[in-house]
């Protein structure tokens, strides 16, 4: 016998969105027209150091 169970989502807690000082906002899509991910792709492909690596290189 198959029993159908209604699945509920998690309880939605009140929580302030990620923001300063504990989070850095790296990029924002304010107009809902998407992101240019060129920089991320270049970092993944190793063409450009990440911000952390750049800071290390700069001393």
């Amino acid at each position: 016998m198959v029993k159908v169970v209604e699945v509920a989502g998690p309880e939605i807690l009140k929580r302030q969105p990620p923001s300063e000082p504990f989070y850095e906002v790296v990029a924002v899509d304010l107009e809902a027209d998407g992101y240019d991910i060129t920089e991320i792709i270049d970092i993944i492909k190793g063409r450009k150091p990440s911000k952390e690596e750049q800071m290390k290189q700069d001393g």
Binding site: G9, S19, V25, A27, A32, I37, I44
Partner: protein, 156 residues
């Protein structure tokens, strides 16, 4: 404490890198995966905070992707083991070279699997180098939504 209206989506940079990496590795085929995080409420609005991704085992081509039959069980197990305090808040897939939007097939997939109003869809195009988020209202209606990419600061 500010109670201004939040973006519908906040995603950690590492999760973006995970999804984009997946899209690049799968090229020229489409790839598919899940978005992991939690829904929250702030300022009277519900938003999702995406903290990780889970790759889906897929049957894919250059223009079509769907989950393999045995993939969802592995995803649920991985979620329980690696992200016990999180839930699936949506899914992502890639559109290599044809831009960020949701096709009729994508909409059908979304409404069949992601039924909560906070669930989101992310599309990555590793060729056009674009990424976007969407909320689906019905099998025939969706909208592109605002979002923010964040990085947790390490204090020490």
């Amino acid at each position: 404490m500010s109670s201004s209206k939040p973006f519908p989506v906040y995603i950690e940079l590492k999760a973006v890198v995970e999804a984009v990496s997946h899209a690049l590795e799968g090229f020229p085929s489409e790839v598919i995966g899940f978005l992991v995080g939690m829904p929250y409420e702030w300022g009277g609005e519900t938003y999702v905070y995406i903290t990780a991704t889970l790759r889906g085992k897929a049957v894919a081509s250059e223009t079509h992707v769907e989950f393999a039959d045995d993939s969802l069980g592995e995803v649920v197990q991985s979620l329980r083991e690696n992200h016990p305090d999180s839930v699936l808040v949506g899914w992502y897939h890639s559109h290599p070279g044809y831009g960020c939007f949701l096709s009729p097939t994508d909409l059908a997939s979304h409404v069949s699997c992601f039924t909560m109003p906070y669930h989101v869809a992310m599309v990555v195009d590793p060729v056009k180098r674009e990424m976007a988020f969407f909320r689906v209202r019905s099998i025939s209606e969706y909208e592109q939504i605002c979002s923010a990419v964040v990085r947790r600061k390490v204090h020490g």
